[in-house]
């Protein structure tokens, strides 16, 4: 499973970034608290690329042959055996950025606000619908490939 963007529907509003950050903050249900009360401003794992008139959101493709998992020097990056999502165990991550060096989508971000860790989409870990998809006002983000990823590499 992964989230894909329909470029032609993306308005570039970046609400996906806002809700991604919120849902990965200590206050996942409260955008105001998420930004005001979190010890660090929450970081979005989806990135909107924009060069008017084109804009689209991009996040981890959860590749079946995930090079970030293979390349991870600590073993922090792994595939969740249940959901199939590629996830980073942040407590084992040392922020070496090897995953950033190998991810062909540029979908992994540096989070240097506390302990340095790689931040990435986790498909909102167990949620019925990822926050970015749920909150896109224009239907530009869709969940694809339920039950198994595509070979992306």
């Amino acid at each position: 499973m992964r989230v894909t963007a329909r470029e032609e529907y993306c308005a570039g509003c970046r609400l996906c970034e806002v809700y991604c950050a919120v849902s990965h903050s200590p206050y996942p249900a409260d955008p105001v608290k998420a930004f005001r009360k979190s010890p660090h401003p929450p970081i979005s794992r989806v990135l909107v690329e924009e060069q008017r008139p084109v804009s689209f959101a991009l996040q981890c493709r959860h590749c079946t042959e995930a090079i970030c998992v293979k390349a991870c020097i600590t073993g922090a990056m792994y595939r969740d055996p249940v959901t199939g999502a590629v996830r980073n165990q942040e407590e084992r991550c040392v922020g070496c950025w090897t995953c950033i060096l190998v991810c062909p989508f540029g979908a992994i971000r540096r989070d240097e606000q506390g302990k340095k860790v790689a931040a990435k989409c986790d498909l909102c870990a167990g949620a019925v619908e990822p926050a970015c998809v749920k909150h896109c006002p224009n239907g530009a983000l869709v969940v694809e490939g339920k039950g198994g990823g595509l070979k992306c590499m």
Partner: protein, 422 residues
């Protein structure tokens, strides 16, 4: 009956690959070190006190149990008897194999310098190395590091963090000479000097002085440095000892084909011990990199388990951070010869450096310092040999992304995949 010699990335890659195909074939893993699989690059983090030994585990503690692997840890494989198809251990015991993987990695290269046998002299590649060094790395002590490569500089960083005085002696004219050009190296060196590391370039250690214990080092240019602790970090060479006296062909590393099979049937080699295909150089060479080792181990494992898998090739790629300054490089970063186009954007004051090397409209290498985000897109352009004609200018943008890539190619990559063959 699968037998694996080694216990690092290539070995783990092989175990995971074998178990994807064959969930019951017995696997025996032999390793000279007595430890559960651990992440070697983390030894500098351990020395700096950033991770504990427990946190260095490369896979969970029960990994081998879960995968039905019998481990012989702390047991050195001495030789391979290819006729009897068994691995001979140092204690004389034999381990029979049907498919064998040699994943013994590299060993530190130690130059023939007088006095390197004295107490206080260390190499820096294993858990035992770092444990021994940690005991002697006391605040205020004077350390000399030979080699300003990845290992040497990570050791130097950790020693500074522990409060030692650190001098790095390097034979080349710049730091990280294997991965950086002059301009990039200058940025990194200035950054490290601000943190208190002293550099002596174009120089090396010719003799170690002292009785039982090191007291100092003599340098090529005649200077003498007082020194309590010496780190030899010149480089690593393939640890091919186990292949000696067999028919397995060895050049610098063990020679393998694109299935990672050696010149002997049913014997494979992967990781730092082998010579893999470098798709940028177009030659077979030792590529001592963890991601490469894992991928080779994986391909070897699949073939050992009866699948047909091919290693499409790798190329040099390194991610290193030094005192918070990230450096990401790949491929050929300072080309010699004709036919190359070099794009550079530098801002030394802000420590930003971005260099992209093109050949025949393909990216063949890059250096990113400080602004390293989304470097993997460039890496994938190298791996997929993508024609970048029409969007070269974007490659130099710190925010280079898919929006800079023409729409057809962008959609193809984002919706169907990148086509790197990884």
């Amino acid at each position: 009956m699968y037998v694996i010699i080694g216990n690092s990335a290539a070995a783990v890659g092989a175990v995971e690959a074998i178990r994807r195909v064959d969930d019951r074939g017995p696997i025996t893993l032999i390793a000279a070190e007595p430890y559960h699989t651990y992440s070697r690059p983390l030894i500098s983090y351990y020395l700096a006190g950033k991770v504990t030994e427990e946190q260095m585990a490369y896979r969970p503690r029960d990994f081998y149990i879960q995968n039905g692997v019998k481990t012989l840890l702390g047991r050195k494989a001495e030789a391979v008897d290819t006729r009897a198809r068994r691995v001979v251990l140092a204690d004389g015991e034999g381990v029979a194999y049907q498919k064998l993987l040699i994943a013994t990695g590299g060993r530190p290269f130690v130059p023939p310098v007088q006095g390197l046998d004295k107490a206080g002299v260390f190499t820096f590649t294993t858990m035992d190395d770092v444990k021994a060094m940690a005991k002697e790395a006391t605040p205020g002590a004077r350390a000399v590091v030979i080699g300003a490569g990845l290992i040497g500089l990570k050791a130097a960083e950790a020693l500074i963090r522990k409060g030692l005085q650190v001098t790095v002696v390097e034979l080349a004219n710049r730091v990280l000479s294997a991965i950086l050009d002059q301009e990039g190296a200058a940025i990194v060196q200035a950054h490290l000097e601000k943190q208190g590391i002293c550099f002596l370039l174009n120089n090396t250690v010719t003799q170690v002085t002292g009785e039982e214990r090191i007291k100092g080092v003599l340098l090529q240019d005649g200077q003498e440095l007082a020194c309590d602790l010496l780190v030899v970090a010149i480089g690593v060479v393939p640890n091919t000892a186990v292949a000696t006296g067999t028919g397995i062909r060895v050049n610098r590393g063990i020679l393998v084909d694109d299935t990672l099979c050696t010149s002997e049937a049913d014997i494979y080699a992967a990781g730092d011990v082998s010579e893999g295909y470098d798709m940028v150089h177009g030659t077979w060479r030792v590529l001592p990199l963890l991601p490469n080792a894992y991928r080779q181990g994986e391909v070897a494992g699949l073939n050992m388990a009866g699948q047909v898998a091919k290693f499409a090739g790798g190329f040099a790629m390194n991610a290193i951070g030094l005192f918070g300054l990230p450096i990401l490089t790949a491929g050929l970063a300072w080309p010699e010869g004709e036919g190359y186009r070099v794009l550079v954007r530098a801002d030394e004051e802000r420590q930003n450096y971005r260099k992209v090397v093109l050949k025949d409209d393909r990216v063949v290498g890059f250096i990113l310092i400080n602004q390293v985000d989304r470097a993997g897109i460039l890496t994938s352009l190298i791996a997929a040999k993508t024609d970048v004609c029409g969007f070269e200018e974007g490659l130099l943008e710190p925010g280079f992304g898919y929006v800079h890539i023409p729409v057809e190619l962008r959609h193809q990559r984002l919706l169907q995949g990148v086509g790197t063959g990884w």
